[in-house]
Symmetry: C2
Subunit: 355 residues, 2 copies
C-alpha cells in the first residue's frame, strides 16, 4: 500500500488487473481508462502537476506567469463526418482543453501518423480543414511532425495536437474546487458529437441529420470569466469521451462532493434523443466537442448563464443541477418521472473512436 493518496479511488474502486491485454474500453474515458491510468501510467509518471488530473497541465514559467499544456491524440473514424472532420476536431479538442483551464492559446503543435496508401487528396482536405479551424480559433500551428506506417498498421490518419496557452493572472480553474451549493451549468445540448459519428457509422437516417457540435470554446470561456467575479467559476470541463455523466463524476471525485442533476433540465436535441433510444444509449454518456460544464458559485450563477447565452456557442446554456455535500464522489440524477438514479462511470466501451 502506498502512502500517497490514490487520486482515482473515487472513480475506480475496483482493481482491474484481470485485463492482460488492452481492450477498446481502455480508451473510452470510463472505468477502464481510469484503471489503466491508476495502475500503469500514474505509478510510473507520478508528479504533482500530472496528479491534478485536469485537462491541461499548468507550469510556472521561469520568466513569470503560468503556461498551460495539453495534448490529445485523435483517432476518430470515419475521418469525415457531419459538422467536421478529424482535422477541425483536432484543433477544437485541444483549444478547448486549454480554454477549460482559462488559458489563452499561444500555439499548437500537430503530429501526423499517416497510413501508407492514404489518399493524398484526403490528407490535403484534413490539413486544410485543420488550418481553417486554427485560423477561426485565432491560433497558429507552430511546429509539427509526420510519420508514415505500413498499410494495415494505422487507419488513414491519426493526429496528435498539443496546445500551449497562457493562464492570465488570478485565473485558477480546477476540478478539485467544487463546493456544496455551487451550481452546475451546461452550455447547450448533450450528446451531439458522439451521435453524429455513431449514426454515420451505423448508416442511420433521421429526418434531421445529426451534426457534430465540434467548435472552439475559448471565446465562450473568456466571455464567461469576464462576466463574474474572480473565483466564482470554480471549474470548467468540456464533456467529451464519457459525456456529461463521466465529467460530473470526475469533478465529484476530485472535489470530494456529490452532484445532484435534474434530467428534465438537460437539453438533448430530438434527433439525438431518438438515435440514442434506437441504439439503447444514454445521451448523458455521449461525447460533445463544443459544450462546457461550468461549476459556479451560487451568487454568480445567474450572471454566468446570461454571459453564456449571450455568446453564439452558449445560446442554449442552462442550469442542470447543484453540488451537494453527500454522497461524496457520486452523481445522482433526479429523473423526469420523479425517481433518482445513480450515474456511475461506464465500465465498457460504448462508443469507440469518437475522437
Amino acid at each position: 500500500m502506498s502512502e500517497a493518496p490514490s487520486l482515482l479511488n473515487a472513480v475506480c474502486p475496483v482493481p482491474l488487473r484481470e485485463h492482460e491485454r488492452i481492450v477498446l474500453g481502455h480508451g473510452a474515458g470510463g472505468k477502464l481508462t481510469a484503471a489503466l491510468l491508476e495502475e500503469v501510467f500514474l505509478p510510473a509518471f507520478r508528479n504533482p502537476v500530472l496528479e491534478r488530473m485536469d485537462d491541461q497541465a499548468v507550469l510556472p514559467m521561469p520568466g513569470g506567469g503560468r503556461l498551460a499544456v495539453t495534448t490529445d491524440s485523435f483517432v476518430i473514424t470515419p475521418i469525415f463526418f457531419p459538422g467536421g472532420d478529424i482535422g477541425s476536431l483536432a484543433v477544437h479538442g485541444t483549444v478547448n482543453d486549454l480554454a477549460m483551464g482559462g488559458a489563452r492559446p499561444l500555439g499548437l503543435a500537430a503530429a501526423f501518423i499517416l497510413e501508407e496508401g492514404m489518399e493524398r487528396a484526403a490528407l490535403a482536405r484534413v490539413v486544410g480543414s485543420m488550418a481553417a479551424a486554427a485560423r477561426a480559433a485565432g491560433v497558429e500551428i507552430v511546429t509539427g511532425d509526420t510519420k508514415v506506417v505500413n498499410h494495415g498498421k494505422g487507419d488513414q490518419v491519426f493526429i496528435t495536437t498539443t496546445g500551449v496557452g497562457w493562464v492570465p493572472e488570478g485565473v485558477r480553474l480546477s476540478a478539485d474546487q467544487a463546493r456544496p451549493g455551487d451550481q452546475v451549468l451546461l452550455s447547450g445540448t448533450a450528446g451531439d458529437h458522439g451521435m453524429a459519428i455513431l449514426s454515420q457509422r451505423e448508416g442511420l437516417e433521421f429526418e434531421a441529420a445529426i451534426v457534430s457540435d465540434s467548435a472552439p470554446l475559448h471565446g465562450l470561456v473568456e466571455a464567461l470569466l469576464a462576466a463574474v467575479p474572480q473565483g466564482a467559476v470554480r471549474c470548467l470541463r468540456d464533456p467529451t469521451r464519457g459525456g456529461v455523466a463521466t465529467t460530473m463524476h470526475e469533478i465529484a471525485g476530485r472535489s470530494r462532493v456529490g452532484m445532484r442533476l435534474e434530467q428534465a433540465a438537460i437539453p438533448v436535441r430530438p434527433e439525438v434523443g431518438a438515435a440514442c433510444e434506437l441504439l439503447g444509449i444514454d445521451p448523458l454518456y455521449v461525447a460533445n466537442e463544443g459544450k462546457l460544464v461550468a461549476i459556479v458559485a451560487p451568487a454568480a450563477a445567474e450572471a454566468a448563464i446570461a454571459a453564456l447565452r449571450a455568446h453564439p456557442l452558449g445560446a442554449g446554456a442552462v442550469r442542470i443541477g447543484e453540488v451537494v455535500e453527500r454522497p461524496a464522489g457520486m452523481v445522482l440524477l433526479a429523473t423526469a418521472v420523479g425517481g433518482t438514479r445513480v450515474l456511475d462511470t461506464q465500465f465498457h466501451e460504448q462508443l469507440p473512436r469518437i475522437c
Copy 2:
C-alpha cells in the same frame, strides 16, 4: 506562383505531385517528406514560426522570455531494441529537439495510441522505461492522453511526445545561421540507432551487437554552450531520420551555404560499417538518436570540441568538415580515396519506422 519565398526549394527542386497516395517515403525525412511539407502542410499552415523549419518552435511569452515547443510521433518497430525501446526513445527524441534549440526542458506531454490486444505487460514496460528516461533527463511528464484503436488499425503502441522548454536569454540557434568558414562538428559515431533497429529486424548477427545510441543530449548542449562565447555556436541539430547527410543538407539549404565534409573524419563503428556494407546502405544516411551536429565559428571550434569530449555523451566528438560559400545548398563529401561526392537527400524510403 506565390510571392512568398519557397523555403524548401533548395531541398526539393522537383514537384512531386505524382504521388496520389501516401507512401512510406513520405515519412522518411528525405525528398518525399520535404515535398509533402512543401505541397500540403506549409501552404495550409504557413506562419513565420513554422517556416523557420527548426526542430522546435520558439514563441515569445507574454510574461517575458521565450518558450520552445517541439513534437514528435514515435512509430518505431520493433518497440523493444538493443539500447532502448519506444518509451525511452520518445523521451530522448523530444528532449533532444528542445536541446537543439538551446532550451532547458520544462515538461513533456505524452499521448499514447494503443492497439487493441496489446499486452498490458509490454505497455507497462514501455511506460516504465519512459518514466526512467524522463527522470534521468530531469524532466517530468506533466500531462497525457490515451486512445485505443481496433486490432489491425495500429501497431501495439505509438507515442507522441511534445516538449516545452525555456530558452535562456541570448541563446539563438537556428539552421539559417551557418556562415562560410564555420566548422562542422559531430559528437560521435554515425548511424548507430538506425543500424541497431535494422539489424534486429533483419535478424543480422555480428560479433559485436549493434546498440542504439539513444540518449538525452541537453546536458551535452549545456556544456558546449557554456564553453564558447555567445553566438559562436550557430546551429545544433540531432541527425535522426535521414542521418548526418540529410541534416547537413537542411542546414546548407536554410543558410544558403555549401558544406564540405571529409569522409575519413566521420567516425563509424566497425560493426555499423559492416552491417551497412552488407545491406548496401550509406551510414551517413542512417539515423542517430544520441548525437549532435554543431556548426561553430572557426575561432571557437577547438574549445567546442574539447567541451564535447569532456562530456560522456560527446567523448567521440570530431571535426568532420567546414561550411563553404559555394555551391550553395549542396553538401560535398571528400571521399577516403581522394574523390568528391555530392551528398543529396534521399528520395525513397531506406529505413522505414526507425523512430
